[in-house]
């Protein structure tokens, strides 16, 4: 899939040539759930749910607050063990945190005393990867994410949108096979959000990482995904799976497509039926 894409898209060579060749991973979760606490305090935060994400697929998870979306991300990354069920990545059962992954949270979680570039290069430091190669990849990502000139600035000297872009660069610089994003644009203004959504889509089109994208925003979910999974209220289960059949790259103003309104309508209706909305 990666190969086909990069052949058909000439501008893809930029990332591919600097070592970016890692294929998207497949994610397969069966009956996973999370129960926090024990005994009387036991609280089911999630599921059980099944996930089946193909290599290179862009899947969004949308659902009401507290339904267990972030928990799902932690289980899929192996950062927390599921209480029931199991997760397989590329057919291998997860027993510890996967390292072939980049994670972006709603807050940038950059380290204040490291410059933007040094924050990104933390991946190289910790993983002990080749410095020159990672520097080149970082430079490339800074370029692609509109961060040129921000390399030596500290996070506090960047705007919120730029910080989040640095955070995305950090999640991609080591060329992981999987990108996990938990409401990555949730704290940004609408204008920035639309631009950064597009930038992410373009990067994804070139590299075809497998992406699990958690959001509250119907627009983001439809604007980015191959498939949207809709979750119920807590404890979250997947109640609907909506393949998004829109051409890419998708426009800034999704209202251009009548199909967009149809998808949005569909999700609103599910939420209304679940009692997420009380109008």
């Amino acid at each position: 899939m990666t190969a086909v894409q990069s052949e058909t898209n000439p501008s893809a060579s930029a990332l591919a040539s600097s070592g970016g060749s890692s294929k998207g991973a497949s994610i397969h979760a069966k009956g996973i759930s999370k129960i926090y606490g024990s005994g009387e305090n036991a609280f089911r935060a999630l599921g059980p749910i099944d996930l089946d994400i193909k290599p290179g697929e862009f899947v969004s998870l949308i659902g009401p607050s507290g339904c267990g979306k972030s928990t799902t991300l932690l289980l899929v990354s192996g950062l927390e063990p599921p209480s029931e069920g199991s997760v397989e990545v590329d057919g291998m059962p997860l027993t510890r945190p996967i390292s072939e992954v980049g994670i972006v949270f709603q807050d940038h979680l950059l380290l204040d005393f490291r410059t933007a570039l040094k924050n990104v290069m933390l991946q190289q430091e910790i993983r002990g990867l080749d410095k020159a190669e990672l520097r080149e990849r970082a430079a490339n990502l800074f370029d692609r994410l509109g961060l040129k000139g921000a390399e030596d600035r500290y996070p506090r000297q960047l705007s919120g949108g730029m910080r989040q872009r640095v955070s995305i660069a950090r999640a991609l610089v080591h060329d992981p096979s999987m990108l996990l994003m938990d409401e990555p644009f949730g704290a940004l203004d609408a204008i920035t959000r639309t631009q950064i959504r597009h930038d992410l889509e373009m990067l994804w089109l070139e590299t075809r990482k497998t992406v699990l994208f958690i959001t509250h925003s119907i627009e983001e979910a439809v604007g980015l995904s191959d498939r949207v999974l809709v979750m119920s209220t807590s404890p979250g289960r997947i109640v609907e799976e909506i393949p998004i059949d829109l051409p890419r790259p998708r426009p800034a103003h999704l209202g251009e497509y009548p199909e967009f309104s149809r998808y949005a309508q569909q999700i609103y209706e599910i939420f209304s039926k679940l009692g997420v909305y009380r109008f």
């Binding site: 945190p97 949270f105 490291r114 991946q123 506090r156 920035t192």
Partner: protein, 290 residues
């Protein structure tokens, strides 16, 4: 910086082209302005301080002469500043001893407080068990243990250093604990996803993330240390400015006592200045523009 985000992808080239110089300008301008401001304000305030101190000393000198105040009661500035010059070797020797005591006590305080804070904030049981003890020890006046320490270790700079340690230990501990607890759990997740081990997780993520808190604890600690060291030397040392002042007091040597006071103020200024330099080193974003 704001409008950049709103621009179209097709404008990337122009955007970066325009963007870079403007960013650099902003940065250099900001840096120069900051230095200029700092230099201006520092030089300015130093000048004003010097002038007002000189005026005050002049007034003092004149009053003491005009009313013929005896030196053993209130020495003239010329008396104790003269002593500062004529006895500079003695005073400097004690000032160095005091400084060493501060460094020892403070370093020990930080080196014990930070790892302990990490342990306490990581292990719930430890926190529940130790926190009340810490609160109690923190409100206890530290100098009261002086006589006990003298029995254990004998009069000397070691006891003074231990008292300084106790005085600056708690603020660092309390702030470092707050710092470690404030570290976002998701940062820990990010470190784990990079494959960081326990040591890397601490050294590259938790410690630096908690650093602003630790530094603010250290700032309080330094103030306590320079304040505490003189008292500690009054009661428990045979070296240092506190000891020198105490000894001068027993000989009714007023000018030397005042000279010691000036020297103690200089030592305090020096350590607070060093702490500011350290803070700038630790928080580089605070003084490079914006």
């Amino acid at each position: 910086m704001g409008p950049i985000m709103g621009m179209n992808r097709t404008m990337t080239e122009e955007r970066t082209a325009e963007y870079r110089p403007s960013l650099d300008n902003g940065r250099e301008g900001g840096l120069l302005a900051a230095i200029g401001q700092l230099r201006g304000s520092f030089a300015g305030s130093a000048l004003i301080a010097l002038i007002s101190i000189a005026a005050l000393l002049g007034l003092w000198e004149w009053l003491a002469i005009a009313f013929d105040v005896p030196t053993w009661l209130v020495p003239k500035p010329s008396d104790f500043l003269g002593r500062l010059v004529s006895d500079w070797q003695l005073i400097a020797g004690h000032a160095v001893a005091t400084s060493i005591t501060i460094v020892e006590g403070f370093a020990l305080g930080v080196l014990v407080a930070v790892p302990l804070a990490l342990a306490i904030s990581s292990i719930g049981a430890l926190e529940r068990g130790l926190y009340p003890v810490i609160v109690f020890l923190n409100i206890m006046p530290k100098t009261v243990v002086g006589p006990i320490l003298i029995i254990w270790f004998g009069i000397g700079p070691l006891v003074a250093a231990l008292i300084v340690f106790l005085m600056c230990f708690f603020p660092v501990l309390v702030d470092a604990m707050a710092g470690f607890k404030a570290v976002d759990r998701r940062l820990f997740y990010i470190s784990r996803s990079m494959g960081a081990g326990a040591w890397q997780s601490f050294a590259k993520f938790r410690l630096p993330a908690a650093m602003p808190h630790i530094v603010s604890g250290m700032k309080i600690g330094v103030v306590k240390a320079v304040e505490g060291v003189i008292i500690a030397e009054f009661i428990a040392s045979n070296k240092g400015l506190g000891f020198m002042i105490m000894q001068a007091s027993s000989f009714m040597d007023m000018p030397l006592m005042f000279a010691g006071l000036v020297a103690a103020a200089i030592v305090a200024l020096l350590f607070n200045g060093l702490m500011s330099v350290f803070e700038r080193q630790m928080m580089p974003w605070a003084h490079t523009g914006r």
